[in-house]
């Protein structure tokens, strides 16, 4: 079921395959590396944002009140 190589030694084909496989491997390497880096970045972001979100959750009522007051202040006393 696999591709059948032509019988005998064929230098042209060997070089062809070498180059094609080489290119494909480089493409695969870049693609996988990108995806893995993106994964690492998102995991890091989650780890860092987690505590921030927790703090926000704890002080949510005050933060909301503060935001609203600040908003009203800026509307009434523009800089």
């Amino acid at each position: 079921m696999a591709e059948k190589p032509t019988p005998g030694f064929n230098p042209g084909e060997v070089i062809n395959r070498f180059i094609a496989n080489g290119i494909l491997r480089v493409v695969g390497f870049v693609a996988r590396l990108t995806i893995i880096l993106m994964g690492i970045v998102s995991v890091a972001a989650t780890v860092m944002l987690g505590p921030l979100m927790f703090l926000f959750w704890l002080f949510a009522p005050f933060i909301l009140l503060g935001l609203a007051l600040l908003g009203v202040y800026y509307l009434t006393f523009p800089l």
């Binding site: 009203v72 800026y74 523009p78 800089l79």
Partner: protein, 801 residues
């Protein structure tokens, strides 16, 4: 301590009130709008800041607006979190029950409250009570001050689930219960309809819950298989079910599968020999079970070794088609399996496993030996699928194979589970055809599929019927699929009269005695016993697990036993031809059972099993049952008792839609002497039964199985005269077709009775007398040309000498 419903009710009250003021659907829209506005204003602000390099006058106002909109957004978001923390914390059933009742004031009528609530309205519609009827009842209830059922009379236990609440309303209020009963709605129907409502709600509730594990796992992952090998050959013949399962998992859940799924998981979790062999019929949900399994694996709800593995369905048929040509099934399969094992993340599902083995065997390859290394080690878990026939034929005998696989027969779903599956099927069809399905309609489909199509596979058959009813109603321009429509379709398919008894059939049943008497002379007691039993069967109060009816007709020959059976076939199955007749005297040797049921060795199908498969809706007449061997009698004992039996191949044959009639002239002599004494055999019932048991004709347990034992007595001379009359009439009718009119006069009748009367043999000699004397005479005259077409023939005394 567990919170009682009332405490929880108080906590949920605020959530419910919030939900009524602004439904969460509307809130979601507001949330989206606030988010959009915030981001838009923020973008404008940023653009302005970049353009000016500093915050200018108008921008500080804009910043104020941004902050206020942001506050609104966050508040709405927090409100939503509060709502969800309660909404998803309680069962849908309890939540719905509280939604129905939380604002019912203590002194308000609970039924009125229920009926005016959208949920109550939905439920009653599904139960087939139309808008107008609901309204009329509501009005009459409001006017009638005596029928009031106060909300405060409902206690905590009643609101634990939706069905308990509905049942409480149904049971505690007489007027409401009567109203439902006039619509033929039972408590079970109410519970069923509430399950339907909950299923629909649950669905929309879960689809909103995108952050659940199930929801998140629906998003296909990337890079999951980076660490595993690639399966080049397998991909040509395989389908990755993991991706498919995620897409189609929302619909089509069948509760019965959860038990099978549990068992499948137990097998697949084992560290060695984690191979399952699923045995079931096409359409019984085997493939769906594998899909469910694939979904669990894909969403990571399985133990770590299996977590996120690829469940690949191996298409045996196209593989065989490909490899057979090259005579390389064995080596190709080895390649596929090696590759999958090396890849390390494949659970292989092999379709049509027996076929694969057989094809390889034809080629001279022993696949089982080839597979054994994979089966015995934990490198490649395998799920093989097989139907029952193939399993018995090619897998079961192979001990080494059966040791490697754990056999899991697929359980057939019961009626309730089929109904639940139909809820899913209906959803799409309602939207597409614009039809409305009632709960009773679906329940009838589930029941009918099981009862009237016993060989068929569920829930497939039920879905077929649903399909047919849908197109039938759609074409007829109807809008509602109700019980009656379903019964009509089943009636059309089977020929069994079902459904609301049409007036014609009602008459038939009520006057069964006189209809039978048109064909059967005398035998008043016997016929009324048959009529009573048939009325019971037809009204639906009989046991569904048994045949339509089962009778033992006892009496001498020629007194109308067979004639009664024919008449019953004509009345209940539409035609005299709907009768399977087995002469039991042919089944008294050692291999009688083999001939009835078939044998495994010769693969010859049995007489009884093939006849019943071909004519499931018929009268099964067992002539002279006493002459059949004891084993044969035992077989019929079982059939009458359970309504089904297994043939030699282990396949169930159904007899639940047949009317079984056994005849016997075992105690004919005793009946004859009783009649000679001018007494009724019916009055000597006990004696006759005792005689049957004493003479060891039938075992007492067989006698007890019959719905009724009917004694046919010898006919009197006057009755035989009537029989002669009937026979001559039918002969005259045959002549009429040839263009001859036969006058049935006294001379003719007397002649037939004179030569045909023999009380011992009943009507048999009479028939012979007509044949030998009258038919012969007319035939000769026809041939000689004495009479010709169009003549009126009146035979005289001289003719008959």
């Amino acid at each position: 301590m567990k919170d009682g419903p009332i405490v929880i009710g108080a906590r949920l009250r605020s959530v419910l009130q919030l939900e009524r003021a602004i439904s969460h659907k509307l809130r979601h829209r507001l949330l989206g709008l606030a988010a959009f506005l915030t981001l838009l204003l923020l973008a404008v602000f940023l653009v302005g800041y970049l353009a000016h390099g500093a915050i200018v006058f108008w921008m500080s106002r804009l910043l104020g607006a941004v902050l206020i909109v942001l506050t609104i957004w966050l508040s709405l978001f927090l409100l939503e979190l509060y709502f969800r923390s309660h909404y998803y914390n309680y069962t849908q059933s309890f939540y719905t029950a509280l939604t129905l009742l939380y604002d019912c004031h203590e002194n308000k009528d609970a039924i009125t409250h229920f009926l005016s609530h959208p949920i109550g309205h939905w439920l009653l519609l599904r139960l087939g009570i139309l808008e107008l009827e609901q309204k009329t009842y509501l009005e009459s209830r409001m006017n009638d001050k005596t029928s009031i059922f106060l909300c405060r009379d409902l206690d905590a236990a009643h609101v634990e689930t939706l069905s308990s609440l509905l049942l409480a309303l149904f049971e505690k209020d007489n007027s409401f219960a009567t109203f439902l009963r006039t619509h033929e709605i039972t408590g079970e129907d109410i519970v069923g309809a509430s399950e339907w409502y909950l299923k629909e709600e649950e669905r929309s509730r879960n689809s909103e819950r995108w952050w659940s594990r199930d929801g998140l796992s629906r998003i296909p992952a990337i890079a999951r298989d980076f660490a595993y090998g690639h399966t080049y050959i397998l991909n040509r013949f395989g389908r990755d079910l993991s991706t498919e399962a995620l897409v189609s998992s929302v619909d089509h859940s069948l509760e019965s599968r959860s038990i099978d799924l549990e068992r499948l998981l137990l097998v697949m979790e084992r560290s060695t020999e984690s191979n399952a062999l699923l045995v079931g019929e096409q359409g019984a949900g085997m493939f769906e079970l594998v899909l469910d399994f694939a979904r669990l694996v894909a969403s990571g709800q399985v133990p770590p070794p299996m977590d996120r593995m690829r469940v690949v369905l191996f298409d045996s048929m196209s593989f065989i088609a490909y490899s057979r040509k090259r005579a390389s099934i064995g080596s190709d399969l080895l390649n596929v399996m090696t590759e999958a094992a090396v890849a390390g993340n494949v659970i292989l599902v092999i379709e049509e496993f027996p076929n694969l083995i057989e094809s390889a065997r034809l080629e001279g390859t022993d696949i089982i030996a080839l597979m054994d290394p994979f089966l015995s080690r934990p490198i490649l878990p395998i799920i093989a699928l097989s139907d029952a026939d193939g399993f018995h034929a090619s897998l079961e005998q192979d001990a080494s194979l059966m040791r490697r696989f754990e056999k899991l027969p697929i359980r057939e779903p019961n009626e309730h589970e089929v109904t639940l599956a139909l809820f899913d099927e209906v959803r799409m069809r309602e939207a597409h055809f614009g039809l409305f399905y009632t709960y009773q309609g679906l329940r009838e489909i589930a029941q009918g599929a099981k009862r009237y199509f016993p060989g068929a596979v569920l829930p497939d058959k039920a879905v077929d019927i649903l399909e047919e009813v849908t197109t039938f109603v759609f074409r007829a321009g109807g809008t509602m699929v109700d019980r009656d429509e379903v019964l009509k379709i089943i009636e059309k398919k089977t020929g069994i009269p079902l459904g609301k008894m049409a007036s014609g059939e009602k008459e038939k049943l009520l006057n069964l005695e006189s209809i039978l008497h048109e064909r059967v002379i005398g035998q008043e007691e016997g016929i009324s016993a048959i009529a009573r039993t048939m009325r019971r069967a037809r009204s639906g109060v009989t046991n569904e697990k048994r045949p339509f009816g089962s009778f033992l007709f006892l009496g001498p020959t020629g007194v109308g036993k067979t004639e009664t059976a024919k008449a019953l076939a004509a009345i209940f199955f539409g035609s005299e031809d709907r009768m399977i007749r087995l002469d039991m005297s042919e089944y008294n040797d050692d291999n009688a059972l083999d001939r009835l049921l078939g044998t495994f060795e010769s693969e010859k199908p049995g007489v009884l099993s093939s006849l019943l498969r071909a004519n499931p809706y018929a009268v099964l007449l067992l002539d002279e049952l006493e002459k059949g061997s004891r084993e044969v009698q035992q077989l019929f004992l079982q059939i009458i008792d359970e309504g089904e039996f297994k043939d030699a191949r282990g396949k169930t044959v159904n007899a639940r839609t047949t009317l079984i009639i056994a005849t016997s002239n075992a105690v004919a002599d005793s009946i004859y002497s009783i009649v000679l004494r001018k007494e009724k055999p019916e009055d000597h019932r006990e004696e006759l039964i005792a005689e049957i048991v004493e003479r060891n004709i039938f075992a007492p347990e067989l006698l007890n199985r019959f719905d009724a034992m009917v004694f046919y007595r010898t006919l009197t001379q006057a009755e035989l005269g009537q029989v002669a009359n009937l026979m001559l009439k039918s002969f005259a009718a045959r002549l009429k077709k040839k263009g001859l009119t036969l006058v049935i006069n006294d001379v003719l009748l007397r002649h037939v009775i004179k030569h045909g009367y023999d009380p011992k043999f009943g009507a048999r000699p009479m028939r012979r007398a007509i044949q030998d004397r009258i038919e012969d005479l007319i035939a000769r005259r026809l041939i000689s040309g004495n009479i010709k077409r169009g003549d009126v023939v009146a035979l005289t005394e001289e003719d008959l000498v």
